[in-house]
Symmetry: C2
Subunit: 697 residues, 2 copies
């Protein structure tokens, strides 16, 4: 434990290295010229059949080839999808993706602001808003994909420029939104239209309330009453890393990183007393959509599918010790192409660390105060990405007891729009600051669970907690207290289109029907426990409903097929939703069997965000979480061998405490030394003499 080994040969799940990216680019340039924009040069993931064979027998089965998935924009805005083998570099696929728009890179986004500032019609609108022509360097824009605008269709590559103003270079521009929206043509590199509202909203004149240090100092300064909390691991960490494979507390998995999904976890297994049991073949956040709820044109276009349109990998933050994580941290970098065919590195794109997780289990016998207390630990694999105004902190939390807990924190800044002093928001938004309307929105995430619960053949059930059917007073349920977990098999992809039911505390059970728990005789399973499931509020038939079909329901299940990774489709920008891409295509008429086969579960969860002034000018982090829990998977509590902090047994207490185990943390201290009536005796200092009056150990 506690070692890191660098590997020479890439693991088949490894993201492309800088060398591999450069190799792929060189091959493509040689074949198709240097006048190409590289939107994607990324790992083309190994075919599952080949990969599974290799994982089962790495010595004898062929090692899956390294292949680059390449997307370029060639002159004339022609998009090509290519595949390049890397061992013996060659192009094995090169196809025109006619009328499709690939992911927008950070570099494409960066260009827009410079162009809007020089556009005469934009300058004219700025002046109308109250900005001096000499102050165009104070005009900023957040370029967004246009979503879909039927006036322009999909063939022209477009962005919409959400406009802001900074009275001072360090002022947060989201306090000064402008009311018009230029449309940018990425091919022509010019503004081709401006959406101007009927009711104009001049630039706000409210004084800024900034969050940067000088502004805080000017308002009276920082609070000075926080004492440091130090977290350290003097003997090192409890995990080991080989390449990008990590082992910790019976868990083993591979940590990939995709330009789209960010962290990708592969081949997640749990060592159950020597038996290495597969659980998930692949876990990721596969897509998301953030629909805004203001129906006034052109706000319907605000519904970013951030992963398919910009990429949670491309937008990843470079993380820092002691800022983003505390303790003993291991980092992994991310490598991507640049648009012009170079490569770039995001240092520390992923941070990995352990945290104390509070009490793992405890029990005191009330008769004699014999007790066991064992503290838990968690492993956190985390990234943060910035989507223009917003930040998403995405953590994959592993617990010792076999639970995996994806956790997302939302922070950053609200998307804002201008409003006049006397304006009615009509309930579609909230005035969070003078002149600032923050529109209602939802954050809907799609968790992709490529299940492998004790093997590839799995079945999904819904479990509903329901009362017994028999009436109160009947012989079967005389006192009316009967209740049980009703299991409903999702036998086909159509049946598997399911929603959350809060009234029955619904969970989804991914089980292996071929393997029963020795005691419960129920199939071994992992349960999806998600209370953050929610309804997508844009209506059936709405633009968002069409484009982000995955978000219509809490759960979809499909039969596994290679390359069905992204539920809103491969090329997401400017899809019309007619027909809907991704999941609806794969599900078709819903008749395909998903019983006892290789299945993928897609789960939509998230939060509906009605802004309030507390969220402004920067939002305190709001967390959401869900659980993937082993149920009937283990034959018993899998953490009984975690060393306890303290353990005493009845026989030891009868023997005046002889043999009691006291491994309590000796670093912990009393907060104050001057208070009577409190004491911080460690567990072992208590007599535990078995009378029923002195409570506790």
């Amino acid at each position: 434990m506690g070692a890191a080994t660098v590997t020479d040969t890439p693991h088949p799940f490894d993201p492309l290295s800088l060398d591999e990216i450069e190799t792929a680019i060189a091959v493509v340039r040689k074949a198709h010229g240097i006048d190409l924009y590289f939107n994607v040069v990324a790992l083309h993931e190994p075919r599952k059949a080949e990969m599974t064979a290799w994982l089962a027998a790495p010595e004898s089965a062929p090692r899956p080839q390294r292949i680059a998935d390449v997307v370029v924009i060639a002159p004339g805005n022609k998009v090509f999808d290519g595949l390049v083998t890397l061992d013996e570099p060659k192009i094995i696929k090169w196809e025109l993706a006619d009328g499709e728009q690939p992911i927008i890179t950070m570099e494409e986004l960066q260009l827009v602001e410079h162009i809007v500032r020089k556009d005469p019609k934009v300058i004219e609108q700025c002046v109308i808003s109250g900005i001096s022509v000499d102050d165009m360097d104070k005009v900023f824009c957040d370029p967004w994909t246009i979503g879909y605008d039927e006036r322009f269709g999909s063939s022209v590559r477009l962005q919409q420029a959400l406009m802001y103003y900074r009275p001072h270079i360090d002022t947060c521009q989201y306090q000064y939104p402008l009311d018009f929206c230029p449309i940018y043509d990425a091919d022509k590199m010019e503004i081709i239209a401006i959406d101007i509202p009927e009711v104009r909203r001049p630039l706000s004149t409210a004084p800024a309330v900034d969050y940067h240090p000088a502004a805080v100092e000017a308002r009276g300064g920082y609070r000075n009453n926080l004492k440091p909390i130090n977290i350290s691991q003097p003997e090192g960490v409890s995990f080991s890393v080989t390449g990008r494979e990590i082992e910790w507390q019976n868990w083993k998995f591979h940590i990939g990183f995709s330009y789209r999904e960010g962290i990708v976890l592969n081949n997640i297994t749990f060592n159950d007393k020597g038996n290495v049991r597969p659980i998930f073949y692949r876990l990721s956040l596969a897509e998301m959509v953030v629909p805004y709820g203001n129906p006034e044109h052109p706000h319907q276009r605000k519904h970013a599918l951030d992963q398919g349109e910009y990429g949670a990998g491309y937008m990843a933050n470079s993380l820092s010790l002691g800022c983003d994580c505390k303790g003993a941290i291991h980092y992994l970098d991310a490598h991507f192409p640049t648009r012009n065919g170079q490569s770039r590195t995001i240092k520390n794109a992923i941070c990995i660390h352990e945290e104390d997780a509070g009490i793992l289990f405890k029990h005191t016998d009330f008769r004699d105060d014999s007790v066991i207390v064992t503290r838990g630990r968690k492993l956190i694999v985390q990234q943060i990405f910035t989507a223009a105004n917003y930040e998403y902190v995405v953590a994959w939390v592993f617990h010792q007891d076999g639970t995996i807990q994806p956790e997302i924190k939302l922070t950053g800044i609200l998307n804002t729009y201008a409003m006049n002093a006397d304006e009615d928001t009509h309930g579609w938004g909230t005035q969070v600051f003078p002149g600032v309307n923050a529109h209602n929105h939802q954050h809907l995430f799609c968790l992709r669970v490529d299940a492998n619960v004790d093997g590839p053949d799995n079945t999904v059930f819904v479990n509903d907690a329901v009362p017994g059917e028999a009436a109160v007073g009947s012989p079967e349920n005389y006192y009316g207290n009967a209740f049980y977990s009703k299991r409903t098999k999702l036998a086909t992809t159509g049946e598997a289109i399911t929603d959350y039911n809060g009234a029955t505390s619904r969970t989804w059970e991914i089980c292996n029907p071929n393997k029963l728990n020795p005691y419960s005789k129920k199939p071994v399973s992992y349960k999806l426990v998600s209370r953050e499931a929610l309804t997508m509020l844009p209506k059936e038939g709405s633009l968002v409903w069409k484009r982000a079909a995955f978000a219509r329901h809490a759960v979809h299940v499909t039969k596994y097929r290679d390359d069905q990774l992204w539920p809103a489709g491969r090329h997401v920008p400017q899809t019309s939703g007619e027909p809907s891409k991704g999941l609806p295509e794969w599900i078709g008429d819903g008749s395909e069997s998903i019983d006892n086969t290789d299945v993928v579960l897609w789960h939509t969860f998230g939060v509906t965000h009605f802004p309030s002034p507390e969220d402004f000018p920067i939002m305190p982090a709001e967390p959401m979480t869900l659980l993937l829990r082993p149920r009937n998977f283990f034959a018993g509590n899998p953490v009984m061998d975690v060393p306890p902090s303290y353990a005493s047994t009845p026989s030891q207490l009868l023997a005046q405490g002889s043999g009691v185990l006291d491994a309590a943390d000796k670093i912990s201290k009393l907060a104050f030394s001057n208070v009577n009536g409190s004491n911080g005796d460690s567990c072992c200092a208590t007599d535990g003499n078995g009378n029923g009056v002195s409570n506790g150990h």
Copy 2:
């Protein structure tokens, strides 16, 4: 900050001191004889009107009197409710509580096991189960209140003895449940009946799987790959304590402790830039019920109302440094009477400490990577209580941003019943170990929120996230994306009987309609965000439905009245539920107005627990949580003055980083020193030169 002051005069909210308890007992004994059992000697809480006047003007208003609430059982099983003033000790109330059964003390519970072991009919049943008459010292029982059994009614004080066997003194007896259930008469101190099932289930012969250290060692020992995580506060803690009042990060509140509810938080205020704003007058877990779902007699009696029947205070654990909490801990003790009229102390019944809370807020500007990262902190006020087999870890978590997060972790041991090898559980339970049937159950908690949001006059609304009414394609909602938060006023106690709606992500808003947020113009409010709301599964008309009426719905709201503290009634053991006590009595016909007045919100939340083998023989902790969040309460983000870990602005980056704030934790370290491709530069080491390619700071 960081100081503790002991006060001489008790605060009116303080629990009774040992002296006060002894004074009250002495007065009662003098008046009513020494042959009394003391079930309760506790603070009779100050009348709110008096208390509010004193809090507003402690120098001039009269200080509320100290009064003891006393419940005794006199000879002949006569129950008396009394009040004793303590300043000038005298009895001011003494009433016979005819036919009522007061809370059962730990001492009453302790007696039963000794009596069952000697009862000939119990011994007979043990022998039938396969236990030798010489092994009666290996027979154990968990005495429970009987709940309600119509054969015996309420006038005889009863317990039911759930029977177990320990083949070895240190073996967990829940692995060896016995199939019969003696009924104990507490007045006669004898067994008056035994419930014997038709189908007998002899003692299990399965070998034990224990969790105590010797058992773990015998199975191969503890894992040895966990490295210590040290948490320390070398400069002390960031909170200060005066008596039982605590101040931390703008919060101030009083920490009480009740024999029934455990931790009681009073007079919770937040200092909003110098303006001390009241939020809650009193917060507690006021009641709970754990109904079991097996309809077979006599399992319907298993539905402990643990707080009203045994007391979360009475069952509190004595907590230990480094075991139950890590870091720098402040403890508070609890004082109670003994049954025989002495006093006892639970040392360290409450622990108070701070924890790092991850990122409080972060934003990176994608243009130049100017960034701010600020870490958060939380304050945790925690207790643990053991209810026979189960433990409940109850934490009140305070966040810097004004959020209060009650959090409960369930651990301990499943309640178990015997089963035969070939027996069908009928879905009412799970075989978690050979011969061990763990029945389905729910843990339903009642959070009592005595609201005081910017003053006593509050109104409660439900907020539902719903689509706009207008159809897709209509001018008002052309693209179909409209959605909003629908507010529905709960004007009367009848209207306020509401359930959770997962489809609308329902929240409850406790607002002060007399005070509007300056920007949003919406009433200042605290929102109850609870995704762990659930349906009580015992049916309408069932025994549990009648006895634990508070759990029928997610939310009830009542008008404040002194002494309406406990929603299942004052004396809970052996209530028949005909009529239902507590909330239904207070709500009556539901016509009372609760609009713009002093209101109390009662929220039922919890979890439905279908056991699985992972939970046995001891359960890994399962957490549940909810939030009380300020919405439209503050004029802006209330934590902007928390010192950041790192902050850079555009102007600083243009000036080559001059003036950048780097206060990153210098204790944090890289996990490994030997890995290329990773680095742990602190934030300040990055150039941040404003190009769009190098991401992050």
